[in-house]
C-alpha cells in the first residue's frame, strides 16, 4: 500500500508533448480515475507510473521513494491492460500463478492464493482453460485476478472495461469497486467514459491535451467545474454552454437572457445543465427542435437563435417540432466562464 506523487511530469515524443507538467498527489488506498478524451495522455501517464515509459522530465514517487530509475519489475505495481495481455500459451491458472512464480513466492502458497484471487472475480470454474477459450468478460476477470494475486502496492488499470458490452461493464464496474475497497490498494484507473469515472472514483483527474484540467471528487467535478472543457465533458447530455455578453448584471445571447453576478462583464460563456432548466418562463425564447423520449426522462432540444439548448423534461413531455417554447434556468445553478474558458467565480 502506498501513496503516489507525480512532480512536474513531462513526456515529450520528439516535438510532440504527450503529457505536460503534471503534478498529482494520490493518497494511500485512494481510487483515482484519470478521465479525458482519447489521446489526451492518460495511458502515457499510467505507463510512466508503471515504469514502462520514462518521463522526459519530473519525478515519480511511490510510497515516498523516487521511482524514476527503478525498473518496472521492481516497482511492485500491477497493471490491467486494455487488451488484457494474458499469456496465450498458459492456462488461466498458470496465468494467475505467473507473478507468484516470478516474484519467488513459496510454491506452497501458490494454490491457495490463486484460488482466492479467482474466487474474488468469480472465475473458479475456468482455471483450466486457455485464454482463447474465454469470453471477453472472463478474460477481463482473469487479468484482474492476475493483478490481485500478488497483492501489489499499486493497481493500474487502463480502460479495462472498454471492450465489454454495456451490461457487463456495469456489473464489472461494481465488482472492481468492491474489490478495491476490500483490498485497500491504491488504484489508478484510466477511462474516457465519464459514467465509469463518476461511479468508481474517490477523485477524478480530468485531462485534456496532456494537461490536468481539474482534480476533484465526482461531486466537485460535476457541480463545480473549473472551466468550459470540464463543464462540456461531464454530464450526459453535457452542460449547455452559451456564448454571449454580460453587462450590468444581465447575460444576453440571441434568444437567451439571464441574470448574472455583477462581476461578470463582457464576452462570457454561460453554463447551465439540462436538468437545471424548466419548461415555461422566458430565460430562453426559442423553438422546439427535437424531442427524445428515453423512458425515464425526455430530452428536449430547443433552438435559440442558432444555439441548440438541451433540456431534461418530464418523462411524459411530448411536443411537435417548430413550436415556440420558453425555458427558465435555475438561477442558483448558473455558471459563467471567461473568454479563456476559466470559470468566473462569484464574489457576491
Amino acid at each position: 500500500m502506498a501513496s503516489i506523487h507525480l512532480q512536474n511530469i513531462v513526456k515529450r515524443y520528439g516535438g510532440f508533448v504527450g503529457v505536460q507538467n503534471m503534478s498529482l498527489e494520490i493518497a494511500d488506498e485512494e481510487f483515482l480515475v484519470l478521465l479525458g478524451p482519447s489521446g489526451c495522455g492518460k495511458t502515457t501517464t499510467m505507463r510512466m507510473i508503471a515504469g514502462l515509459e520514462v518521463p522526459t522530465d519530473g519525478k515519480i514517487m511511490i510510497g515516498g521513494e523516487v521511482m524514476n530509475d527503478v525498473d518496472a519489475r521492481d516497482r511492485d505495481v500491477a497493471m490491467v491492460f486494455q487488451g488484457y495481455a494474458l499469456y496465450p500459451n498458459m492456462s488461466i491458472y498458470e496465468n494467475i500463478r505467473f507473478p507468484l512464480r516470478m516474484r519467488g513466492v513459496p510454491a506452497s502458497e501458490h494454490d491457495a492464493r490463486i484460488r482466492q484471487a479467482a474466487e474474488m472475480v468469480e472465475l473458479g470454474a475456468y482455471l483450466d482453460r486457455k485464454p482463447a477459450a474465454l469470453s471477453g468478460g472472463q478474460r477481463q476477470r482473469a487479468a484482474l485476478a492476475r493483478a490481485v494475486v500478488r497483492q501489489p502496492q499499486v493497481f493500474l488499470m487502463d480502460e479495462p472495461l472498454s471492450n465489454l458490452d454495456a451490461k457487463l461493464r456495469q456489473s464489472m464496474r461494481v465488482q472492481i469497486k468492491h474489490m478495491q475497497r476490500q483490498l485497500k490498494v491504491t488504484t489508478v484507473y484510466v477511462t474516457h467514459d465519464q459514467i465509469e469515472a463518476m461511479t468508481l472514483a474517490d477523485r477524478i483527474v480530468i485531462m485534456n491535451k496532456g494537461a490536468i484540467q481539474q482534480v476533484g471528487t465526482p461531486d466537485e467535478i460535476y457541480s463545480d467545474p473549473a472551466n468550459t472543457f470540464v463543464a462540456g465533458f461531464i454530464g450526459s447530455p453535457p452542460m449547455n454552454l452559451i456564448e454571449g455578453t454580460a453587462q450590468g448584471g444581465r447575460f444576453n445571447a440571441p434568444g437567451v437572457s439571464a441574470p448574472c453576478p455583477s462581476n461578470v462583464q463582457g464576452k462570457v460563456t454561460l453554463g447551465i445543465r439540462p436538468e437545471d432548466c424548466r419548461i415555461g418562463g422566458d430565460n430562453v425564447q426559442g423553438l422546439v427542435y427535437g424531442v427524445e423520449p428515453t423512458g425515464d426522462t425526455t430530452y428536449l432540444t430547443v433552438l435559440a437563435g442558432t444555439k441548440k439548448i438541451e433540456v431534461k423534461a418530464a418523462r411524459d413531455y411530448r411536443s411537435d417540432i417548430d413550436v415556440s417554447i420558453g425555458i427558465t434556468f435555475d438561477p442558483a445553478r448558473l455558471y459563467f466562464f471567461g473568454q479563456d474558458g476559466e470559470r468566473i467565480r462569484g464574489v457576491a
Binding site: G51, A72, M79, G83, A85, P88
Partner: protein, 315 residues
C-alpha cells in the same frame, strides 16, 4: 395516387432512379461458382504437377527397372532389396542425419539466441537485407568460398595459426570429424540468417503488451523469453525448422564442391550417394530407388514432427 403532383419523398426516389443498374444483374451459375476456387488455383496446380509430380512419378517408375542408358530391364523390387543391404546407403543415411542434424541444431540455436538479443533493436528492421546476403549468393559460389577458406586457400588454418591456436596447416579432409565440420560450418553460415530473420519477425510480431505485463509481473527478460515468447513462437519455429530440415536432407552442393564424400565416405550425404550412383556409375534405377526411399522417409519425419508440434501446442 396523382402522379403529376409528386411529394418530396417521391421526388427523392425519382432522383435516385437513374443510379439503379439498367442492365440485368450479372449472375454466376451455381456450377461456375463451385468451380471458381479450383479455376483460381489451377495454374499453380498445373505448374506443380509438371515440376514435381511428373519427375516424382518418373523416379518411382524408373526405380523398378535396371537401367543401362536406353535399355530398361524390369527388376521389380530388386533395386530396393539390394539397397536395403547396401552398406554405403546406410552410411549415407547416417552421414546425412549426423551432418544435417548437428547443422540444424546449431543454426536453430544460434538464430534463436541472436533473435533474442536483437529483436528489440530498431536497427535490425532497417538492415534485414544484410542478414539475407549469405542466402542470396549462388550456392556453388558459397561452396567454393568455403573450399578456398578451408582446403585450398588455407585461410582458416592461417587465421588459427596466427591466433596461436594451431601450428602449420590443418588437413581438413584428413579426419572424419574435421571434414564433417567444414560442411556443418558452411551450412550454418549460409542458413542461420534465414532462421534468424524468421525468428526476429515472429518475436517482433508478438503483442508487446504481453511482454510488458510479464515485466510488471516481475519476470526478467530471459524468463519472459523462456516462459512466454518462446512458447508463443513455437508454430513458427516448427515450420521454419521443418523446412530447413527438409532442405538439409538434400545437401549436395557443398559436398560436391568441398569434400566429394572424403575421407572414406564419411561426408557422403544421401544426395551425393544418389548422384554417384546415377551420374558416376549410371545405375539410374538404383539411384531412383534411393531417392524414393529418401522421399518417403522425409515425408514421414516431417509429418510426424509437424503434427506432434501443433497438436500438443493446442491442448
Amino acid at each position: 395516387m396523382p402522379t403529376d403532383a409528386p411529394s418530396v419523398l417521391a421526388k427523392g426516389v425519382a432522383q435516385a432512379a437513374p443510379i439503379r443498374p439498367t442492365q440485368p444483374r450479372r449472375r454466376r451459375s451455381p456450377a461456375l461458382r463451385k468451380a471458381f476456387p479450383y479455376l483460381l488455383v489451377a495454374p499453380a496446380v498445373a505448374y506443380l504437377l509438371v515440376i514435381t509430380l511428373y519427375p516424382g512419378l518418373f523416379a518411382i517408375y524408373q526405380s523398378l527397372f535396371v537401367v543401362k542408358f536406353l535399355t530398361w530391364t524390369w527388376a521389380g523390387a530388386d533395386n530396393y532389396t539390394t539397397i536395403l543391404q547396401d552398406r554405403e546407403f546406410w552410411a549415407a543415411l547416417g552421414n546425412t542425419a549426423i551432418i544435417g542434424g548437428i547443422s540444424l541444431c546449431l543454426q536453430t540455436a544460434i538464430a534463436l539466441t541472436l533473435a533474442y538479443f536483437a529483436y528489440r533493436d530498431p536497427l535490425i528492421r532497417g538492415w534485414r537485407i544484410v542478414y539475407l546476403m549469405p542466402m542470396l549468393f549462388m550456392p556453388s559460389a558459397v561452396a567454393f568460398i568455403w573450399k578456398l577458406a578451408f582446403n585450398d586457400g588455407r585461410v582458416i588454418s592461417d587465421l588459427l595459426g596466427r591466433l596461436g591456436l594451431i601450428e602449420g596447416n590443418v588437413d581438413w579432409l584428413g579426419s572424419i570429424w574435421l571434414s564433417r565440420m567444414t560442411l556443418i560450418v558452411a551450412d550454418v553460415w549460409q542458413w542461420t540468417p534465414f532462421l534468424f530473420i524468421i525468428f526476429v519477425a515472429a518475436l517482433q510480431g508478438q503483442d508487446q503488451e504481453i511482454e510488458e505485463a510479464a515485466r510488471l509481473d516481475g519476470a526478467s527478460w530471459p524468463k519472459i523469453f523462456w516462459n512466454i515468447s518462446l512458447p508463443m513462437m513455437r508454430p513458427v519455429i516448427v515450420v521454419a525448422v521443418t523446412l530447413r530440415g527438409i532442405d538439409i536432407t538434400t545437401m549436395f552442393t557443398n559436398v560436391f564442391v568441398m569434400t566429394q564424400g572424403t575421407p572414406g565416405g564419411a561426408t557422403e550425404t544421401m544426395s551425393y550417394f544418389i548422384y554417384r550412383q546415377g551420374f558416376r556409375m549410371f545405375n539410374f534405377g538404383y539411384a531412383s530407388a534411393a531417392s524414393v526411399l529418401m522421399l518417403i522417409l522425409t515425408i514421414i519425419i516431417a509429418q510426424t514432427v509437424v503434427k506432434r508440434a501443433f497438436h500438443s501446442g493446442k491442448s
